[in-house]
Symmetry: none
Subunit: 142 residues, 2 copies
């Protein structure tokens, strides 16, 4: 196995992912949301419930800045903070119904593109794609 070729494929895939999803991040200008707030909301959407520390670590935003942005998002009623009864220092962040609605709306154009692309895929293709996503998620892009 030539790992150099594998790296080239990886770069190619990354570029494609960026290109295909550019529309998603671009259309996310949903009024009062800044890019970093969208990024945080995106992470919360796929990982909820999450703690502020996890957001800080995974999105490479300092804790004070994470706290500031979470406060702003919270004031827009897009997320809610639930304190952990087992450890009262911790907070679990979740999307509110309004937040879910906004992110779902935001993902819609991407989803329709995605569904269009896989609409003609066979059952075997779909299983291949799912397996491929699992592989890359766990082994490369973790």
């Amino acid at each position: 196995m030539d790992k150099s070729i594998l790296f080239t494929k990886c770069v190619s895939l990354i570029t494609s992912v960026h290109r295909v999803t550019h529309k998603l991040t671009k259309n996310s200008k949903s009024d009062s949301i800044t890019p970093i707030q969208y990024k945080i909301l995106e992470y919360i959407t796929v990982s909820q419930p999450v703690t502020p520390s996890e957001i800080s670590d995974c999105q490479h935003i300092s804790m004070p800045n994470t706290s500031r942005e979470l406060k702003k998002i919270s004031e827009k009623n897009l997320i809610e903070k639930i304190s952990d009864p087992a450890d009262r220092r911790k907070q679990f962040i979740r999307l509110t119904e309004q937040g879910e609605a906004m992110m779902s709306e935001s993902f819609k154009s991407l989803e329709s593109l995605f569904l269009t692309r896989i609409q003609n895929a066979s059952k075997e293709d779909l299983q291949d794609i799912e397996h491929a996503m699992d592989i890359l998620q766990t082994k490369v892009f973790y």
Copy 2:
């Protein structure tokens, strides 16, 4: 096959790709280069020679801001501006030798970080990963 679950996995993977890429490019960035300057340099690298207008259009940066950043990058001796003899309003932007060296170094360190990440993968894993990348590249992110 629930296509909705498949889409969720897709979003999750996209998010991870963004996060990992950000981490990798962050590590490879030179100290004196800001994120937007890196983005511009990356575009110049794969598309040179380019004009400021093309950079502005393709990277969605306004002309005044593009001009400002190009000036800064130029002052760091990473690019050079060559005016088009056929149309003296136009400029062709190219990487200088120093700029080429920097981007090449940056690409190399990106690769080494990728290799580190897959270094413990078995031969079967590597084949799985390659196959997964091919699948997603051809069926979803084309």
